[in-house]
């Protein structure tokens, strides 16, 4: 780990918060990079991962936003640009919205991030090496009508971004996180979202990194009393796309809707992990994960619903459907339940298989060709994730997804 370590040390020593970063780096070195012997990394193609292919940049490279990024920005009320973890620009000011950047932050719960992420090597790397934490804060009792767009560009070879989104009590906002760039890069976003009492955060994470990227993302949602977090995570790009999305339902009546979807092509690996942790009464979570794997791609879905003793009348549902579009593609689905309370409603379902033959026949019986029928149904996976987005924005992302899918070869297994 010579090249990477040297660049990391050089970055850390020039930072004003070098001491904290040094501690995080040491913690990382203690646990080391994961191996496939670790259960949570079992399905990752770690034998192909060579950390010395990457080095840590001291400053971001300036680069133009892609055409799609530009369109997306035009649809937003406020655009925040983050390049390799550096807050690079904020397009405007909006009443009730503040965007700031600080060198190193505690977690949204006030914990030391090194303790919080003590067993997560990539998160520890982020704590040591992310240049700053971008903090998006929505005041109390405001409705932000126009979506806020956060554009993340990965220009360097190792790119660490940290983000905290805080929505004040009784406020509502829609945020789109869009990731691009990442050619031959390691991209590690680490995010936290806190939704205040009776507040609502609608979040769309759209990952369109280069197909050569290693993307290791982790998000944590903290949901207070009667608050609502609706999160859609769309994974298109990266060679290895790992996306861990956790939610803690902390207050009575808290609600979490999580939709994740991915499309695997070539030799991509999509690795989705979810954890819905119900800690309060009458909290509700709905999780829908749908994905398709073509060519020689693989996917893993591992989801845990955890219900704490006392979280009475919790309602938790988890659904995972995986489509196999080629005889050489593979999908694993590992749903888990850990329920310590009796008075709950909990359901989970998962499937791995080819496309629904009857849905396809229904479309064919109207004159749609087989390949168009399959394409429509798969596009539909992604469109379903966008139903809660403002129409203009949804149309934009749909067009982009459609264009990306049009080159895909589909062969029934």
């Amino acid at each position: 780990m010579k090249i990477f370590a040297e660049s990391a040390r050089s970055f850390i020593s020039s930072s004003p918060t070098a001491r904290d970063r040094e501690r995080a780096w040491e913690s990382f070195q203690e646990i080391g990079l994961p191996t496939t012997a670790d259960e949570v990394w079992r399905y990752a193609p770690l034998s192909e991962f060579v950390i010395d292919h990457f080095d840590v940049a001291n400053e971001p490279r300036v680069r133009d936003v892609s055409a799609f990024g530009e369109q997306l920005c035009a649809a937003g009320g406020l655009v925040v640009r983050v390049v390799d973890g550096f807050l690079s620009s904020v397009s405007a000011t909006l009443d009730g919205v503040s965007v700031t950047s600080i060198e190193s932050a505690t977690t949204l719960r006030g914990e030391d991030p090194i303790e919080r992420y003590e067993s997560d090597a990539f998160a520890l790397l982020s704590v040591a090496l992310a240049p700053a934490t971008t903090i998006l804060e929505i005041a109390e009792r405001v409705n932000i009508d126009q979506p806020i767009i956060i554009l993340y560009d990965a220009t360097g070879s190792a790119s660490f971004s940290q983000t905290q989104i805080k929505v004040g009590d009784a406020s509502s906002v829609t945020v789109v996180e869009y990731f691009e760039g990442g050619s031959e890069a390691l991209v590690v976003p680490l995010s936290e979202y806190e939704v205040g009492v009776n507040a609502s955060l609608q979040l769309i994470t759209y990952q369109r990194l280069d197909d050569s990227a290693w993307h290791v993302a982790r998000t944590t949602g903290l949901i207070r009393k009667d608050a609502r977090l609706r999160q859609a995570v769309i994974g298109m790009g990266a060679h290895y796309n790992r996306s861990r999305n956790d939610a803690e339902l902390l207050g009575t009546g808290a609600e979490n809707e999580l939709r994740t979807t991915f499309l695997g092509a070539g030799r991509q690996v999509h690795d989705f992990r979810t954890h819905q942790f119900h800690k309060a009464q009458r909290s509700r979570s709905t999780l829908l994960s749908k994905g398709a794997v073509a060519d020689e791609s693989r996917s893993v879905y591992t989801g845990l619903i955890e219900i704490e003793k006392g979280a009475k009348r919790t309602d938790a549902r988890q659904t995972n459907h995986n489509l196999l579009l080629s005889p050489h593609a593979h999908a694993d689905s590992v749903p888990n339940l850990d329920i310590r309370e009796n008075d709950v409603m909990c359901a989970h379902a998962s499937s791995v298989g080819p496309l629904d033959e009857l849905q396809r026949w229904y479309l064919e019986s109207r004159g749609v060709t087989r390949s168009d029928a399959e394409r429509l149904i798969i596009q539909g996976f992604f469109y379903e994730m966008l139903t809660t987005l403002p129409e203009e924005l949804a149309a934009l992302v749909e067009d982009d997804v459609t264009a990306a899918l049009s080159s895909l070869q589909m062969v029934a297994p």
Binding site: L363, L376, F381
Partner: protein, 242 residues
């Protein structure tokens, strides 16, 4: 232009059992034919086999649409030759919008959304339903009205309607029947309705009624046949052909 649909000696197997056992029917465009018969007589099998449903295996016979043999063709090609099947339980297709379906099915995209709205209005379907995913979260009545919107846009030469009247209230039934009847004059659409109920036939006067029993047509007559069925039931028609 007059089109014809000619079914001869059609034999179809479902789950290892021969359900249609030499089915014959001839109809011309602009006509309304009704197929009636008891449960298990093979009515729905006919509809599904005509449109190439994957669970139905054709053992023999012929289905000619304007002289083109449909049986060897894919479901897509059958539809493109002008056959449309409207189902009792139209499938939900999450993520697919009616407009995208219709464009992919070959509908002219010019003013398509506006034409769909007009069609929706004709069957008293709320226009916003057209922006939702195909049949997702729609009531039984809405689904069947939505099928009529597709019919109005795709303008098939022949429409086969499989128990489209089941579970419909009087208003929906009236709207669907009127739309079908109008189709017979607007583009000379041939309408083949499969039904248990006379109700539909009161709104949509058939040219001919065919009574089906045990996989064959056992009686054919004019609209008056439905009154006989109403009075005497299917029993007198059973085994007539065996």
């Amino acid at each position: 232009m007059t089109s014809s649909l000619k079914i001869e000696g059609l034999r179809v197997e479902v789950a290892g059992k021969e359900v249609l056992r030499g089915f014959d029917l001839f109809m011309a465009s602009g006509e309304v034919h009704a197929i009636m018969g008891p449960n298990g007589s093979g009515k729905s099998t006919l509809a599904h086999a005509l449109s190439g449903h994957p669970g139905y295996k054709v053992l023999g016979g012929s289905v000619l649409l304007d002289g083109v043999e449909l049986l060897g063709l894919s479901a897509t090609e059958r539809a493109r030759h002008g056959l449309l099947l409207a189902l009792q339980h139209p499938m939900e297709v999450p993520g697919v919008r009616p407009l995208d379906l219709l464009v992919a099915a070959g509908a002219d995209p010019t003013n398509l959304r506006a034409r769909m709205s007009e069609e929706a209005q004709r069957v008293e379907l709320r226009s916003d339903v057209l922006d939702r995913f195909v049949n997702v979260d729609l009531s039984g009545g809405e689904r069947k009205r939505a099928e009529m919107v597709q019919l109005g846009i795709l303008r098939p030469k022949f429409a086969v309607l499989d128990e489209i009247d089941s579970g419909l209230d009087v208003d929906a039934l009236g709207a669907v029947s009127r739309r079908l009847f109008a189709a017979t004059t607007e583009w000379n659409c041939g309408v083949l309705v499969i039904t248990h109920f006379r109700r539909l036939l009161q709104e949509l006067t058939p040219t001919k009624i065919h009574v089906v029993s045990e996989g064959r047509v056992v009686a054919t007559g004019g609209p008056e046949l439905s009154e006989v069925l109403e009075r005497d039931g299917y029993e007198p028609f059973r085994h007539q052909n065996s």
